[in-house]
Symmetry: C2
Subunit: 338 residues, 2 copies
Amino acid sequence: MAESGASGGAVSISEVAEQAGVSVATVSRVMNGQGVVKPATRDKVLAAVEALGYRMNHLARNLRTAESRMLLTMVPDVGNPFYAEIVRGIDSVARQQGYFVLLCDTGADPGRERSYFDLLRTRRADGAICLDPDTVQHALAEEMNGVPWVACCEFDPDVAVPYVGIDNRAAAADAVRHLIAQGHTRIALINTDARYLYARQREAGMRDALAEAGLTLPAAWHVTVDSLDFDAGAEAARQLISRDEAPTAIFAVSDTLAIGVIRGLREARLAVPRDVAVMGFDDIAMAAQIDPPLTTIAQPMRELGETAARLLLQRLAQPQLAVPGVLLPHRLVKRGTA
Amino acid sequence: MAESGASGGAVSISEVAEQAGVSVATVSRVMNGQGVVKPATRDKVLAAVEALGYRMNHLARNLRTAESRMLLTMVPDVGNPFYAEIVRGIDSVARQQGYFVLLCDTGADPGRERSYFDLLRTRRADGAICLDPDTVQHALAEEMNGVPWVACCEFDPDVAVPYVGIDNRAAAADAVRHLIAQGHTRIALINTDARYLYARQREAGMRDALAEAGLTLPAAWHVTVDSLDFDAGAEAARQLISRDEAPTAIFAVSDTLAIGVIRGLREARLAVPRDVAVMGFDDIAMAAQIDPPLTTIAQPMRELGETAARLLLQRLAQPQLAVPGVLLPHRLVKRGTA
DNA sequence: TTGAAAGCGCTAACAC
DNA sequence: GTGTTAGCGCTTTCAA
């Protein structure tokens, strides 16, 4: 129904007003449920809206109200299941509050990130949630000051921006303690890019746990990869097992890496966890599917996203209010690999 | 560096004009590189822009030009790696053409889809790419007629909308022929929701291949699941192996399902492919990581996305031009499970 | 080559 | 309760 006015182009508010025999102000009032309108008038307007198939032009409304009802979400990699789950969390609270989310893949590239951030200054988005490395956040923080944004997972404590994340250092320490409790003393680390806060923090946590047990992390057991994909993990595993003295356990800072590690090990005819134990981080859905299922640290991804969105919405509502940083709990999930 | 005007709020074009001692029209011209402006004037304007830190308000521009430079992408599930890869393809060509993509998770729910589609009619997006079930596309096609959109993966040949996809029927037939070539005669199907075109087509393809070999698909070997997640696959596998006469091979219409199947089989102490062979569909990155690696049909996900975006852009550029449907090639990837 | 002015479709004072 | 009107920040004729 209601497709009559579709001939020319979009129906505007004034056409509705004319059809209903009222002013545009009245139409606006009923469309927004604001102000008082006599029921009879309201019905006339609604009838006209229906008859013409009127849809409000939000571009115009937003120009007037100076808001776009769009929330920008910048992630380093939309294909990574870890981020995908966070995005879902963000989306659910945003939509519930009448916002749409504009999802952008930055590839952790400051240039791309800057161009997306520009959406805020050009009024196409009201606020942003940034999941990019804290180092790139830091670089942009100064010029982005004044625009409403929050940090998720990655955050720079020195930048006065609301954030939500987990205690990566404590979580990594828990992970490594678990390995140690299984009797391992030769534990390797596969880490990413030190541009990421989590990478630095998880390494620190690992060293904490190692130190408690009087252990160390020799350079030979410390490999750094520049991507989180499966192949990077497999390649790192190959390197590790070719060392003179090979580790008996590997802690990978992400599940995707850990899953690649397991494949690499398998291709080298090494059994997990018998020959080498593997510990991941994140607890993506896939972790429970592989054989043996991956032992890992679970992050509350959904809540991370929900909280980030709430923080941002709160900041938009009360820009001057100081919003606290929040740390959510992690959890060790013991499965078959360690 | 250009952060002076940041005090109050955004700098507007008229402030730039004043600062440069020219009219707003001139500022507009230099901002858009249109019309001829004397180099000296242009420099004055640019200097003012720089000094004030001016960023154009796209909301206003878009209201004027009646375009938003946003492309809506509706997917049934952003968390599914298959869609994630397609989205990347879309994003890459969109960004290259100066468009942003608004990614929306519909959950294959017509209501949600309708509300997103509304972004088009309210001018917050210029066009849409829809990956939802062809049946929900069909339901909406009538009321969405007139708005520019294209279909990706799922499409209804009866709806005159440009589309890109693969030949699901031929691909599924290839998959099943492979199983038959391995000597299997008791082949089960795990399918989704018949709302999806691909589900119906893949089943038809399977029946084609079966018929060629004088085989059939008994009801007992045909299970339908209502989600594509791992657990659904595992549960379906459990059902299948509890049949009086259990199948020796399983064709799952998606890799995620197939991976769940393998886990289900493993939990039941059945070896893959020795006890039962498994064939997936899609070739998501994860397929190569599991043990044994998944044999599957590869879809050109990236190209699917890129093509969809190009089709849409083309349609936006020339609305009246008839855009053809395009079918991309698939490929059988033989690995360890069949 | 540049400027003045008329809107794009809507909201929000302010009148009546 | 409802209407009039002045913009929101920009683009785009049309004149000069």
